[in-house]
């Protein structure tokens, strides 16, 4: 029997399953207060999903405010935080929108579909802004590479991302692949999408104009993913195993491709007043958010929703997270044209309701009123928690345990240093990612300028002018564990640097904040520190946060993941022809290191390989980062630079190896004066990059660095002819004077063999 508003008024004391739906007692009481009666079962379903941590940001809101409060002044932001995705002006009438979201829990339960629908969800966020998606990238984190559970989850996640993204026709241009014990049982599957549009095509999610029609279009609504939001994304996995793991949504990328084309066509034809994608919380979310952002009222006839399974109850229809659905607000005059375009793309569409001026969201089911709520109370005025937090009891001891030469034995002989480099470049975290990225289409659309393993992904936006964007995501969660404030800043500066070395100017920031349970005060402290660190750093670097996503409850039992604030930076480049690649150029090109190297090994890849985590992470230096960025962008613009590469994970040794592999050309290096070879080769000090300069440009480049006060030290030269003297005639060779010699092929084999050996050829 249907629980209508009438019935709810008649039996106020009926017991309701609010706890099973994830609501707390005071939240349930608060719903009763808002409505002046008990909620109907449909209303309870709506509130439970919309007030879940995943949808309401109830624990994070008070901290996320800093991104707005501390936002640097910028003209670049056309649409800020709060919409489906922020929109950034990149000049010449073009805008881009980008966002990263987590799909961690579903991907652990069902790796292929979880990861696939993560891509689908973020793509719909982008199209609902009016943009055409132009690229995706996926920051991925798993438990130890050789753990059986990683072998279960990783191949499915990669296949799911590829299976969905390839079928949508979106180039996958980068991302991350990190292994760490802390992600055992809690892999992080974050998905980023970027879209481009002309300024006039920006659309927002609001239901304006009384009498306008609300259209649900795309896939039919089924029983998949019901309660996924409230249960899957907002509950910790029990150490004894999954208590509640209902169905993960199932994706149909072909339908999503049609949805993209149909949506862009109706938007460009001017047929849409407001638009919203259906993701977590499905119809509950879309109708309440559209109404809340618009005139405030909407009347929905829920029985008109096209179903895959006719037996679904209204509560299930409201909560279903079936994929590939969108909701649009259309004027009555344009509805026929809208429907005709949907039909052209074989997309089913149905008018499910209309915009009203009542200030209420009313939902009917076969003539009975089953929902009658103020939409803001569902969508925007959910509970807000000031969760208690405190510095973890173990934090001081962790920071005191620095990886000094006394604490950890350091390699010092040439043989030991050589072996260290080999160990690093073949370690799962630094090995070639080709096993993963070769399963993704990076060429589709024909605008991919740079893709993994380059520092940043770069996409041409305008074929005429060569205007393009670059994007990178980064986070070293070990740094964040040692110091979450600095860790978030280190993630930002690395991403900022990756954009800059590619020749693009950093413009805006998105983030995906992956943490343990907010109910643990120590985790909440990490979160508060990280958000404050990131907001402060964005202000220092003058680039605003345009949006993001929070994923809590990434923990098994009491054991939380390392705090993992994944930061994505977007940059713009006026002409992609000027991009700076990683591969160095011709014989005789000179190799410089910009910036200073210090004895900083806490949280480094080298320390990780020694099984050590302790100390304070590398120092952040915003002034140096800004300077480095300006120099790299100027060097690219003025044609002074042949190649460049960020120095971060694994230090200079790993950076030059990656460049040699990319170029397939050897080079000779020497260790600069007054620095220990181990520190120079493997420290992870910040604000450094490797720059490769043609001899004819050397003077101009070094004079620019000197004039701006950036230290630039020549420490190598490209040389394809080192093989003979090194005893490897005909081969490309890297020589580090008086230390060691490597054949490039030997490095390549070590670098490329690791992931296939772990996950199969």
């Amino acid at each position: 029997m249907i629980d209508s508003v009438e019935i709810a008024k008649g039996n106020p004391d009926t017991s309701q399953p609010w706890a099973e739906l994830g609501l707390k007692q005071d939240e349930y009481e608060s719903i009763k207060q808002i409505l002046g009666r008990r909620p109907t079962s449909s209303e309870l379903a709506m509130y439970s999903v919309m007030w879940s941590e995943h949808c309401s940001y109830k624990s994070s809101k008070v901290h996320l405010r800093q991104f707005g409060d501390k936002a640097p002044k910028t003209d670049a932001l056309l649409v800020g935080i709060g919409e489906n995705a922020g929109v950034v002006d990149i000049g010449a009438g073009w805008a881009v929108t980008f966002k990263v979201e987590s799909h961690n829990h579903p991907s652990y339960v069902e790796p292929y579909q979880g990861a696939a629908t993560g891509v689908g969800g973020i793509v719909r966020d982008i199209i609902s802004m009016g943009a055409r998606p132009i690229a995706v990238m996926d920051p991925l984190r798993f438990g130890p590479a050789d753990a059986p559970d990683t072998r279960r989850v990783l191949p499915g996640v990669v296949a799911g991302i590829g299976g969905y993204g390839n079928c949508l026709g979106l180039p996958n241009i980068g991302g991350e692949l990190v292994f760490d014990e802390s992600y055992a049982g809690n892999p992080l599957v974050n998905a980023l999408c970027i879209g481009s549009m002309k300024h006039e095509d920006i659309h927002l999610a609001s239901a304006k104009g009384v009498g306008n029609l609300v259209v649900l279009y795309g896939a039919r609504t089924g029983g998949d993913g019901i309660g996924g939001v409230s249960v899957l994304a907002s509950e910790t996995f029990d150490a004894d195993g999954p208590a509640k793991r209902p169905s993960v949504q199932v994706g149909d990328p072909f339908m999503e491709k049609l949805l993209i084309e149909a949506t862009l066509e109706v938007l460009h034809a001017g047929l849409v007043e407001g638009i919203q994608d259906l993701g977590g919380a499905g119809i509950s979310c879309a109708t309440s958010e559209l109404a809340s952002n618009g005139e405030g009222g909407m009347h929905v006839y829920l029985d008109r929703v096209l179903l895959r399974d006719a037996s679904l109850s209204p509560e299930e229809i409201l909560m279903s997270e079936s994929q590939e659905r969108m909701c649009a607000v259309v004027t009555p005059e344009k509805i026929d044209d809208f429907m005709a375009l949907c039909k052209k793309w074989d997309v089913e569409a149905v008018v499910i309701g209309e915009v009203t001026g009542t200030g209420r969201l009313v939902i009917e089911w076969h003539g009975e009123m089953i929902v009658d709520v103020p939409p803001r109370s569902v969508a925007h005025d959910g509970p807000v928690y000031e969760r208690p937090f405190h510095r973890p009891s173990w934090q001081d001891a962790l920071q005191a345990d620095a990886p000094t030469a006394q604490r950890l034995v350091r390699p010092s002989t040439p043989e030991e240093l050589k072996q260290t480099l080999l160990d690093l470049i073949s370690s799962p975290n630094l090995a070639s990612k080709s096993w993963v990225t070769s399963q993704y289409d990076r060429y589709v659309m024909g605008n991919t300028i740079l893709a993994q393993p380059e520092d940043a992904g770069m996409i041409r936006v305008d074929e005429e002018s060569g205007l393009g964007v670059a994007i990178s995501t980064d986070c070293n969660s070990r740094f964040a564990k040692l110091d979450p404030y600095a860790g978030a800043q280190l993630a930002l500066v690395e991403s900022y640097r990756n954009i800059s070395v590619a020749g693009a100017k950093p413009l805006a920031v998105t983030n995906c904040l992956n943490f343990g349970s907010p109910e643990d005060p120590e985790v909440m402290w990490q979160f508060a520190q990280a958000t404050t660190g990131l907001a402060d750093a964005c202000l220092e670097l003058g680039i605003p946060v345009t949006g993001g996503n929070v994923s809590f409850y990434n923990q098994t039992g009491d054991s939380a993941i390392n705090p993992t604030p994944v930061v994505g930076v977007l940059g713009v480049i006026d002409d992609v022809d000027r991009r700076t690649p990683m591969a160095w150029g011709d014989d005789g090109d000179l190799i410089y290191i910009l910036g200073d190297s210090f004895d900083e090994f806490a949280g480094s890849e080298w320390a990780y390989l020694q099984g050590h985590l302790g100390g304070l992470p590398p120092k952040v230096n915003f002034a140096q980062e800004r300077l480095l960025s300006e120099i790299m962008v100027a060097a690219s613009r003025d044609g002074m630079i042949t190649a460049a590469h960020d120095v971060s994970d694994g230090g200079v040794g790993v950076a030059i190896t990656e460049m040699a592999l990319r170029a397939n050309t050897g080079a000779r290096f020497w260790i600069p004066d007054n620095i220990d070879p181990f520190v120079f080769l493997f420290s992870e000090s910040t604000a450094r990059a490797i720059a490769v300069i043609a001899r004819t440009e050397e003077l101009r480049f070094t004079e620019m660095c000197a004039a701006r006060g950036m230290s630039a030290t020549r420490f190598g030269v490209v040389d394809s002819g080192l093989g003979i003297d090194s005893g490897y005639p005909g081969e490309q060779v890297i020589v580090i004077d008086s230390l060691f010699t490597f054949r490039v092929e030997e490095l390549r084999e070590a670098h490329e063999a690791t992931l296939p050996a772990l996950f199969g050829g």
Partner: protein
């Protein structure tokens, strides 16, 4: 007036814009053809682009052959219309029986995207004239179902009649029989190719520009015919 080359968009086509760009770069005019529109709009040649037409449901290319535009293309191809099918387009040409054999799931079961070395085996087709025999090229390859299979007799015939237009070298990426990357029909006007020449037409975005001759070849034959 430059030659008009049609590019068919099926629901799920992905590389249609890339094919149109390649046609422009080669010096011709791309003409968008819609799957549901039984009209070839006076095009001089047709490219069936890569993607996942109709979601690759049932079998790759199996539904596309029933599209209204395909019945016209099949008819005209049998009387000489130049048709190039790339990746999913190759699958459609096999399903349509314009080309023999079939494309099956990669032997290693993964989708694979990489820069692939090929040897041009036949320069006698309308789409490969601008290459030199035995020329080695590198263009992107990206497929999940790119393993070319056919009976031994058919394979022998394809080689005997010089209808294998390109073979994989430096490693077979998908288990294709006899390393076959592309084939033509007997007349040489219909060509199917698994790798993607349309992704190798600009130095900025492709690994090479080795894909361009596929598109300039057909223009020469059109000029020659008119």
């Amino acid at each position: 007036m430059s030659a008009r080359i049609g590019v068919v968009t099926f629901p799920g086509s992905l590389d249609d814009a890339d094919a149109a760009r390649a046609i422009r770069i080669a010096g011709a005019t791309p003409v968008a053809l819609w799957h549901g529109d039984a009209d070839l709009h006076n095009v001089d040649a047709v490219v069936l682009p890569g993607g996942f037409s109709y979601g690759d449901y049932l079998r790759c290319g199996a539904i596309a052959k029933f599209a209204p535009v395909m019945s016209l293309i099949i008819e005209k191809a049998q009387v000489g219309l130049p048709v190039l099918g790339i990746c999913n387009g190759f699958q459609i040409l096999c399903e349509s029986h314009l080309l023999p054999g079939a494309l099956t799931r990669n032997d290693h079961q993964h989708f694979i995207c990489r820069d692939q070395k090929l040897r041009i085996e036949s320069t006698e087709t309308l789409w490969t004239k601008d290459f030199s025999p035995g020329q080695e090229i590198v263009i992107p390859l990206k497929n999940g179902e790119g393993g070319y299979v056919a009976s031994e007799a058919t394979l022998d015939e394809l080689f005997a009649e010089n209808r294998v237009i390109a073979t994989y070298i430096g490693g077979n990426p998908n288990g294709s029989y006899r390393d076959i990357a592309g084939i033509s029909n007997k007349a040489g006007n219909v060509v199917g190719l698994m790798p993607h020449p349309e992704h190798a037409v600009e130095a900025l975005t492709g690994p090479t520009t080795d894909g361009i001759p596929f598109f300039t070849s057909v223009l020469k034959s059109l000029v020659g015919a008119s």
